[in-house]
């Protein structure tokens, strides 16, 4: 009772903070304080619950019908990243997007940011179809306004409209799902269905949930809104969109499936395969990006694919009553949700710091920032290692979970999906390493490629602090993951009712040794650095890179990010290059041009949507704008309904 009230109060705090920031008289400190207070409330409640508190609920009535808010381990698992990233983003946003901007977008940004967090908090508590849909819509719409913060730019407007269309298509599917669920549960209140009575109904619910929530989670082929929306939004908003809002799709899938009596066996394998394809597609396109925020967005698609693989693995375990597979699959998915929230918000904050300092999102214009922004480079570095799933950082452990799960399912007779998953996970890891070596190498290392990068400087402390906190957490989770195992066990028990707590008992020893080995690695790195530090004194000299004897190396001659990833052009489906044709012995001048278009959204879908939209223009003549015409429509509809009521009995017998 207390926990759920705390979380509700947190939602209220954020809402009040949003209102306060909308009013020009209230000081900014008030709104920030309210938001941070709300985050503390929610974090406290979620941690209390995950550490062993009881599930707490709150019953009330909506229009005379019973409704319920509840805080269980699954909700708490998603509240944790939401309020961590939400609170840190509030601190970060103070200097990143000051209130006093010329075009006055600072206030609307703060208002909708608060609203977004408040709505998502409510969303994770809702156990009632209508409350859930209202919170979902509130989240979707405030995210729309956040994406469109810089609406004076045409590409931002476009991105936010595409996002709005997609999220509403998803909502439409979810509304149908809620109606089906209400039919089966005898009311809008969500209760677990005891036994399967009609597989078609449950299959329909599951399909609608996968499609509707899949739009939000960016699962292939419903991902196409995501890259431009994330690239267009202000960076701390991109962070919360990527770290938490995409995960509401995963939350929804887990929540709805936990209410269903069973998952058909094939669905888990299908989701696993779909997740594997999504991961490869996301990382392949991440390789092709010149815009570093878009690169991060594609990497989010990859990570959501990995999470979907975990859910699919868990479902396979659930269908075959294999608790170990369930624990590894769901555990890996939830763990990766946390880890991705940590390192991806850190990366987006870092991207924001770069954008703030240089004003460009083009990687090829930057370089050498590690010398000019040393603190930023230092705190972004752990996230770069984490996103490539390298030890000793956190994401390595969640992928380790998935590898174990996939190997386990290999031994238990589901070889094909597991084999596909294994290869996809290994390849995605390798490609992510290439993409992020490119990211860090092109942005931070080498010499600056333009004036923009030359005058960059570290951001203010209030922007660095949230990044430092996240970087510390990336390492801490990587080393202390064995402390999280009991927490994960509780979440799994909520995501798949009736699962015994296996992780804490089964993986503790492995995690202890893993942590020991990782500590050994850190100690060796420290020893190596100390040895290098004590090397014979070299004379202080300002020397250039040797560069194979070229005396005057120019920054333009450096390898660019695009050429770094050029060998992987075959796995970058959206990259179109116009190569020059050189003929004869002495060809004339030539130029090379390369552009990226989102393969599904822009290349495949857009022309078709435009064509359909043109066809639909025919219906325009029904919209005359005269009141009598609309009254006529109302009358005709009523008449039609009456006729149907009259004739229904006769027609249907």
């Amino acid at each position: 009772m207390l926990d759920v009230a705390l979380v509700l109060a947190s939602s209220g705090c954020w809402f009040a903070g949003a209102l306060a920031s909308a009013s020009p008289r209230a000081p900014e400190r008030l709104a920030t304080g309210l938001g941070l207070l709300g985050s503390l409330f929610a974090l406290g409640a979620a941690l209390h619950l995950l550490l062993g508190g009881a599930v707490s609920g709150l019953d009330f009535r909506v229009w005379g019908l019973p409704a319920r808010l509840e805080l269980d381990a699954l909700s708490a698992a998603f509240l944790l990243p939401l309020h961590l990233v939400g609170g840190l983003g509030l601190i970060y946003g103070q200097r990143y997007w000051p209130v006093q901007l010329a075009w006055g977008s600072g206030r609307s940004l703060r208002f909708f940011y608060g609203l977004l967090v408040a709505a998502m908090t409510l969303l994770f508590l809702a156990r009632h179809g209508l409350v859930f849909l209202v919170a979902w819509e509130l989240m979707a719409v405030s995210a729309f306004f956040l994406v469109g913060t810089e609406h004076e730019k045409p590409e931002v407007r476009r991105a936010s409209w595409v996002y709005l269309a997609c999220t509403h298509t998803g909502t439409l599917l979810l509304t149908a799902m809620v109606i089906l669920m209400a039919q089966r549960m005898g009311g809008l209140q969500w209760t677990a269905l005891p036994a399967s009575t009609s597989p078609w109904f449950e299959g329909g619910i599951l399909f609608l949930a996968l499609a509707g929530f899949g739009f939000k989670a960016g699962v292939l082929p419903l991902h196409f809104w995501l890259p431009s929306a994330h690239a267009s939004a202000p960076s701390h908003v991109s962070a919360i969109l990527s770290a938490v809002m995409l995960k509401t799709g995963i939350y929804g899938i887990l929540r709805v499936s936990s209410l269903l009596p069973g998952i058909p066996r094939g669905v888990g394998g299908t989701l696993l395969a779909l997740g594997a394809l999504t991961a490869l597609y996301g990382v392949g396109n991440a390789l092709a990006q010149r815009d570093y925020k878009r690169l991060l967005a594609y990497s989010s698609i990859e990570n959501l694919g990995i999470i979907a693989m975990g859910v699919g693995l868990g479902w396979t375990g659930r269908a075959t009553h294999d608790p170990w597979l369930m624990a590894l699959g769901f555990g890996g998915a939830i763990f990766h949700v946390w880890n991705h929230a940590l390192f991806k918000s850190l990366l987006f904050y870092g991207a924001g710091a770069l954008l703030h300092a240089t004003g460009t999102r083009d990687m090829e214009a930057l370089g050498g920032l590690a010398r000019r922004m040393p603190r930023t480079a230092l705190v972004v570095f752990p996230a770069v290692l984490a996103v490539a799933a390298l030890p000793p950082f956190n994401a390595f452990l969640s992928e380790w979970f998935l590898y174990r799960g996939l190997f386990a399912s290999l031994g238990r007779g589901y070889p094909w999906s597991a084999a596909l998953g294994l290869v996809a996970l290994a390849l995605a890891g390798g490609l992510a390493a290439v993409a992020f070596a490119r990211f860090f190498g092109t942005l931070f290392l080498g010499a600056p490629r333009s004036e923009l990068a030359d005058h960059a400087h570290d951001p203010a402390a209030s922007m660095l602090l949230p990044m430092a906190v996240l970087a510390g957490l990336c390492l801490a989770v990587g080393l202390g993951a064995f402390l999280l195992l009991p927490l994960l066990d509780r979440v799994i028990a909520a995501a798949a009712p009736g699962t015994p707590a296996l992780l804490a008992a089964g993986l503790r020893v492995d995690f202890h040794r893993l942590a020991g080995v990782e500590l050994g690695l850190l100690a060796l790195v420290g020893a190596g650095l100390a040895w290098l530090r004590r090397s014979p004194e070299a004379p202080e000299a300002d020397l250039p890179t040797w560069d194979c004897g070229y005396a005057a190396a120019v920054a333009r001659a450096q390898y660019t990010g695009s050429s770094f990833a050029d060998a992987w052009a075959p796995v970058q489906p959206g990259l179109r290059a116009r190569r020059p044709r050189l003929r004869g012995l002495f060809p004339g001048g030539a130029s090379f041009r390369q552009a990226f278009r989102e393969p599904f959204g822009e290349v495949f879908l857009e022309p078709r949507v435009v064509r359909v939209a043109e066809r639909l223009l025919r219906f325009r003549r029904f919209q005359q704008g005269h009141l009598p015409v609309y009254l006529l429509y109302v009358l005709l509809t009523l008449l039609g309904t009456f006729l149907w009521m009259l004739l229904r009995g006769r027609l249907l017998g």
Partner: protein
């Protein structure tokens, strides 16, 4: 209690000493083999030890574009190699640390070393080093699936995810796993040559920077960082060599026989690499991915054979 643990402690000690002291011998053996095959005298087998001792006393020179990332490559490479060496069994003597899933850590530790090396190459801002980094990134991402598919096949064969159990699989040479095992080892030899930048993938002795892969990435290192780079490379030869040799070695009843067999096999591997290097040329750069894909296919077939 103590006397019972003594043999194990001795084993670990020997393991540690092998890891620390033996690696620089392997490049020396390879170079000697190549020299003898070419009818030359060649440098002494212990040449790398002398080089390391000299480099450790030398001053390091740093370019003005480099940052701390420049040191991350050498240090990270050695640290990851040393940690990975604790996870792999040398012949049929058990690894000092083993747990379920250590094979994934093993693979990702090499990924970490490679990632840091690439970053430290990019840190110089040199176009040649960038080129080497891009090639290394590409080829290693192709080698990774071969390693993983081999692990998957071995894991399927003996139901374990620990390197110690997977590699030192008793009877692996006599059962129906022989065929897949040969395919895995063939694929891994390709990985071995690629990861250690040997001919036919890369030529460690080439003179033209444009044709280098690994060597061009460490052009700017000098002094102690270069010593770490060279030591890390030889460590990789040892650790990945243990990965290939262990499944192929017969199990002996006594520990000392196992150690002896391992050392002999390691020497044989070094000589084998030398023979390969002497008898063929480096592939054209466009052919290298095809060679690596052949490795992936070999391990993939092994995996398929295990599945059906």
């Amino acid at each position: 209690m103590l006397p019972a643990m003594l043999p194990a402690m001795l084993q670990f000690l020997l393991h540690g000493l092998t890891v620390l002291l033996l690696p620089p011998l392997i490049p020396g053996l390879i170079a000697k083999t190549k020299a003898l095959m070419a009818g030359r005298q060649g440098p002494p087998v212990l040449q790398l030890y002398y080089d390391l001792a000299k480099l450790a006393r030398k001053q390091a020179v740093f370019s003005r574009t480099t940052t701390w990332v420049f040191l991350a490559g050498p240090v990270g490479g050695v640290a990851a190699g040393l940690v990975a060496s604790c996870l792999v069994p040398f012949g049929h003597t058990p690894a000092p640390v083993s747990f379920q899933g250590d094979v994934i850590l093993f693979a990702y530790l090499f990924g970490l070393a490679r990632f840091l090396t690439i970053l430290s190459a990019l840190d110089t801002g040199s176009s040649f080093e960038g080129m080497g980094a891009a090639r290394e990134a590409t080829f290693s991402a192709l080698a990774e699936p071969a390693l993983f598919l081999g692990f998957a096949a071995l894991a399927k064969a003996n139901g374990s995810l620990s390197l110690g159990t997977m590699l030192a699989f008793p009877g692996s040479l006599t059962t129906r796993f022989t065929g897949p095992l040969i395919l895995i080892l063939a694929g891994w030899v390709i990985v071995y040559l690629a990861e250690n930048s040997r001919i036919p993938v890369d030529d460690p002795n080439t003179h033209l920077e444009l044709t280098m892969i690994h060597e061009v990435m460490v052009l700017d290192h000098s002094g102690r960082p270069l010593a770490l780079v060279l030591y890390g490379a030889s460590l990789k030869l040892l650790v990945l060599g243990a990965l290939i040799l262990t499944p192929a070695l017969p199990r002996a009843p006594h520990a000392w026989q196992n150690w002896l067999a391992f050392y002999a096999a390691l020497g044989g591997l070094a000589v084998g690499v030398g023979v390969v290097e002497s008898s063929m040329a480096r592939f054209r750069m466009t052919k290298v991915p095809q060679f690596l894909v052949a490795g992936v296919l070999a391990t993939a077939f092994a995996f398929l054979l295990m599945l059906v």
